[in-house]
Amino acid sequence: MKIKKQITAGLSALALSLTVSVSAPVAAADEGPIKVGILHSLSGTMAISESTLKDTMLMLIKEQNENGGLLGRKLEPVVVDPASNWPLFAEKARELLAKDKVDVIFGNWTSVSRKSVLPVVEELNGLLFYPVQYEGEESSENVFYTGAAPNQQAIPAVNYLMNQVGVKRWVLAGTDYVYPRTTNKILEAYLKDHGVADDDIMVNYTPFGHSNWQSIVSDIKTFGSQGKKTAVVSTINGDANVPFYRELANQGIKAEDIPVVAFSVGEQELSGIDTGPLVGHLAAWNYFMSVDTDANYDFIDKWVAYTGKEDAVTNDPMEAHYIGFNMWKEAVKKAGTTDVDAVKDAIIGVSVPNLTGGYATMMPNHHITKPVLIGEIQDNGQFSVVWQTPSTVAGDAWSDYLPGSKDLISDWRKPLHCGNYNVVTKSCGGKSEVAAE
């Protein structure tokens, strides 16, 4: 019965996306529905994370339509499936912008897919809202980064461990790709700036989907038994986390001894495991489902009602889409049009409520302000917030701790209008990315 329902749901979603992409009429600007492109993988490896974001967007759009749409026009979602295939992301983005003529795109999860889409949205002058925490070192005129930059997640988390927990030895463990490598580079520089010796830092990379963690966990155990408080900073991505945590529990490493703070483990990832043995391990995000605010509880109620699943969870990238969608909405209202250039100018400085009881503001560097929350895993798969920044933190596109990027700033307002302005040489670098690799 349930399966049947899911099949029909799947089929109707398929039918929807087919009709939508086939019957796209060529509408003149400011007439007919406003088109919102959704560029999230619905199949392949990333479907596990990205399909939820597609549903989030559909829910937000539906709700907006029920409230009368935007500028008196209906919103129409255009869903495409880039199938976790990075080059396909670029093709699908081109299809959305050139063929379907969408007014805005919400999409992407992995950094590599964003890098693949970047030249397309810049060439065709589109708008992309990117909802996931990332490694920074990028600022594009056409992209709005509603997820956390390293200074909104990694650095505060390390500060918490250093100052509140008293950690002296650090394991930086990550999956082998651009986000963990860049984040760890920043963290290593930051730790060394704060007097941590080389010997007290262990860096370890594993391939995507790594499942045999025995010897690495055993190494961490040995590294952590040298008499100094040790913590693991984990940028391990995706489902490799489940066997990692399972191995930690099996080898008897408790959070009280060696806490693991993760930047990619959220409620959704935890819904795949029994979290009993993981209680006390940490995660740093800008939102947790357990946050005690009415805005959040209302959002959860809506999400449960929309998905029809009592055990549906919400997570940080969903909040980022919630914020991003509302910001875009406000900017369109302010500009009175969906014209990309007008919206781009109007959105800077727009403030909308977030789900944690504060406000998010779009900064001139296309990043937003966010509170940083440190949560400990509970036995029900949720996080309990143990620490948070006293106020919101503005996202920094260019890290202050990397030699190549510390002199760069990004400001898309006129007259500067530059994504990588070098404050020392007083010139605009001209490219949207230089220092990352």
Partner: protein
């Protein structure tokens, strides 16, 4: 008369019970105020208040502290009543009054303020509870409590422990307590005598204490600590070697399980089945399905999944063989492409029908945790079971291939199809049976893998390359080769991993296999005889 007497009695009862009632009320008031303090305090103060609660002598204190440490002590926002959360799943939580123990039913999460706890508080409370546990009758419980105390002793506790040690009868508990005290003494007081107690201990807290003592200003203490550490280090070396070997065997057994089905379909039949990984995935999903059908009995479900997983994958295998592979006999490239297509179809089918999200497969209690050989060496149970399971599957397959009629026919058909057919063997039937057997074994691998990795649509993809590697390295068509190849590749990988890192270790193993195949194209155990030449 009697009325007066009973009235008198009533009065006495009332009088007697009055102070008791008053006492209980006072207790509740005190408890309420302590819990309120706990709720309002900062993290730094909460530990102190938890200590006060423990010392208050209230018999409910233990329950409160346990609930607090588990993050399940909460305050109802409107009434200020304290409750213990019994179930914290979903949006409405089942709660119980913390003071009276009354069942309060379900309360919305919105109306509850959980009293927050963090790691350091949790270990502080564990310490407090351990001290309480040290006075219970059960020696095992005392031992566990004593173990938990190592590295968590503070000054107040040290005094108490010295007292408790004097009256302790159980030798193990006594030794552990002694160690816990010695760790405290080395760390806080730099006691040389205590260093001797710790020398030879494999406990990591002890090692940490000795390590910190080597930074001491006192040369005698420094020397003693270094000597003690050196003796521990030699012991550890052996333990680490044993551990690496265990890791290697366990990774190896996973490879063997994943590859052995392929050793039959690819090795014996010569069919390049790229959908092999998805047959493994089906086995893993069967385990999940069984656990859904038998809620609350994950162990039973897992055991039943062994035959069920075999059947499901075997049937899927037969379907693939009948629908596609039989028409592509002798055309390896087409087979490869077609089965690759099937693998994508199966993956997307699972994504659409079940969910793109990973499914939770519960590990039964008897498979979680580890067996502690000594303090430095413990064997994780789930891996131990899988090593055993892999061997059982291997022996079972060997028996089928060597001792049964089916095995004989399979070997006959693969060695010389035409000859076998002219001897009256139905080659088509043998093909189906063999493919079903190989696929079924893949399903068994899936059941085992569900215990150590993610059950999701991509499960199979992660193992298909490794499986082919093992079969080719071991020698196509040879089950022994698969066993030896799987175990040795696993061990090599685990030996390389600590110094090369996981990514490089994988590359090195691949390079090694390429070089090996250059030298010996037929693998470790090449098939001999004329049949192999063709």
């Amino acid at each position: 008369m009697s009325i007066i007497r009973s009235l008198k009695q009533l009065l006495i009862v009332c009088l007697l019970s009055l102070p008791v009632l008053g006492h209980a009320q006072a207790n509740d008031e005190q408890a309420q105020s302590l819990l309120t303090q706990l709720a309002d305090a900062s993290y730094a103060q909460k530990g102190k208040i938890a200590g006060e609660i423990a010392r208050s002598g209230d018999e409910r204190a233990r329950g409160w502290l346990e609930a607090f440490s588990a993050g399940k002590l909460a305050k109802v926002e409107d009434s200020g009543k304290f409750v213990i959360v019994l179930s914290n799943r979903g949006r409405n939580w089942t709660v119980q009054d913390a003071l009276t123990g009354d069942d309060l039913g379900e309360i919305s999460r919105r109306d509850l303020d959980t009293i927050r706890v963090n790691n350091s508080l949790r270990s502080e409370i564990d310490g407090i509870l351990s001290v309480i546990d040290l006075t219970v009758n059960d020696a095992d419980k005392r031992l566990e409590a004593a173990r938990g105390l190592r590295g968590n002793v503070d000054e107040a506790m040290a005094k108490k422990l010295t007292e408790l040690m004097a009256s302790e009868e159980d030798a193990d508990v006594k030794a552990t307590l002694d160690e816990a005290l010695a760790i405290y003494k080395v760390e806080e007081q730099g006691d040389i005598g205590a260093v001797k107690t710790l020398s030879g201990s494999l406990n990591s807290e002890a090692r940490a204490a000795l390590n910190s003592a080597t930074y001491s200003d006192d040369p005698a203490l420094k020397q003693a600590a270094q000597d003690a550490l050196a003796s521990i280090e030699t012991k550890l070396k052996w333990n680490r070697a044993a551990e690496t070997l265990y890791f290697g065997l366990s990774l190896g057994s996973v490879l063997v399980l994943a590859a052995i089905g392929l050793a039959i379909t690819f090795g014996v039949m010569g069919v390049i089945n790229m959908a092999h990984g998805e047959l493994i995935m089906l086995g893993a999903y069967t385990t999940w399905g069984m656990q859904q059908m038998l809620p609350g009995q994950p162990g039973l479900a897992l055991i039943l999944s062994i035959p069920a997983g075999f059947l499901v994958s075997a049937l899927a295998g037969v379907a693939i063989e009948r629908s596609v592979i039989q028409f592509l006999k002798g055309r390896p490239l087409e087979t490869l492409l077609a089965t690759f297509g099937i693998s994508l179809v199966l993956q997307q089918l699972v994504r659409t029908v079940i969910s793109p999200l990973n499914r939770t497969v519960v590990t039964p209690d008897w498979m979680s945790g580890s067996i502690m050989v000594n303090e430095a060496l413990s064997l994780t149970l789930n891996r131990l079971y899988i090593i055993g399971f892999a061997l059982v599957v291997f022996v079972g397959l060997m028996l089928i291939m060597r001792k049964t009629r089916l095995g004989l026919e399979v070997r006959a058909v693969t060695q010389n199809r035409a000859m076998a057919r002219s001897m009256g063997i139905k080659a088509t039937k043998v093909d189906i049976m063999t493919f079903a057997l190989g696929s079924g074994v893949a399903g068994l691998a899936g059941v085992a893998l569900s215990q150590i990795t993610n059950v999701g649509p991509n499960l199979g993809q992660n193992y298909i390359i490794d499986s082919f590697m093992v079969v080719v390295f071991g020698g196509v068509g040879n089950l022994w080769g698969t066993l030896v190849a799987g175990l040795s590749l696993g061990t090599i990988n685990q030996l390389l991993e600590p110094w090369a890192g996981a990514v490089l270790a994988k590359i090195l193993v691949l390079v090694f296999i390429i070089l090996f195949i250059q030298k010996r194209p037929r693998g470790l155990f090449p098939q001999k005889g004329r049949a192999a030449e063709g």
